[in-house]
Structure formats: C-alpha cells, structure tokens
Subunit: 88 residues, 2 copies
C-alpha cells in the first residue's frame, strides 16, 4: 500500500540533499524541530499542511511542485506493482 507521507518524505529529502543542505539548516529555516523534519522525511510522521508549506518554503519549492513530484512517484510505483501482478 502506497502511503502519501512516505512519498512526501522521499520528495522532501531528495530536494534537500540535491541542494546539499543539512536537516539542521532546513529545519531552522522552516522553524520546525530537527527531529520533526527527520521523521517527516523518513515517512514516519504526517506533516501538517501548514508545516509542509513551511518546509517547502525553506527549500525554495512551491507546494505544487512537491505534490506534482509526489503524484508522479506514486503513479510510477503503482504502475510497477500492476506490471508485477500481471507478470505473476
């Protein structure tokens, strides 16, 4: 089962690491705790919509671009699973 928070976390972590930024840096700028951001990135915590926006802003990304990326990732993962089921 694909979980939205897993994909959001992966997308945020990928954006942060591609910018060569630390959890500490992004967490400080977004005004969230380092532990919170780390849990969100690992898909262990649901980010509230307000804090998701703060994290997107800290990364210089629009919410639209993050959610578009997430939609694409979920679609790809769901398609791969369908292919595997078909092949079974």
């Amino acid at each position: 089962m694909e979980l939205l928070r897993t994909h959001i976390g992966t997308s945020l972590r990928s954006a942060r690491t591609s910018q060569n930024r630390t959890l500490r840096d992004v967490a400080r700028q977004a005004r969230v705790s380092l532990g919170y951001l780390s849990e969100v990135e690992r898909g262990q915590k649901e980010a509230s919509s307000e804090l998701l926006n703060a994290i997107c802003q800290a990364l210089g990304l629009s919410l639209a671009s993050v959610i578009t990326d997430v939609a694409h990732e979920i679609k790809t993962t769901e398609s791969v699973k369908l292919v595997v089921v078909d092949a079974a």
Copy 2:
C-alpha cells in the same frame, strides 16, 4: 497559502458527489466515522495516509489519481494567484 488538506478534501468531496454517494455510504465503506470524513472533505482535518487510502478505495480511486488531481488543482490555484499579483 494553499493547504494540502484543503485540496485533498475538495478532491475527495468532488469524487464522492460525482458518484452521487452520501458521506454515510463512503464513510461506512472506508470504515471511518462520518464526522471524520466530513471534516477531511472540508479541509478541517488532516487525513492520515492510511485513512486517505481507505477513503480512496471506498471511492474506487487510486491514490495516484487523487494526488494527481490535487497537484493539478494546487498548480492552477498558485498560477491564478501569480497572475493576480502580476496584475496588481
């Protein structure tokens, strides 16, 4: 500020009403309370990823299709706001 939960709620409500289904029907099938579904649809509560999946399933929709719709809606709203700012 665009909130993810507002767009998710709008998308779920739109899917449900286009299927001519009641909150009660979808809530029962998704095994969530009617009050919870109603709050999620109105963007007043963050749906957990697990319950979002249950609601999508009850509506016969993939998570990917709902999030793709949400991404499109956020993009459109953000674009409209940019145009309004430009025109101001």
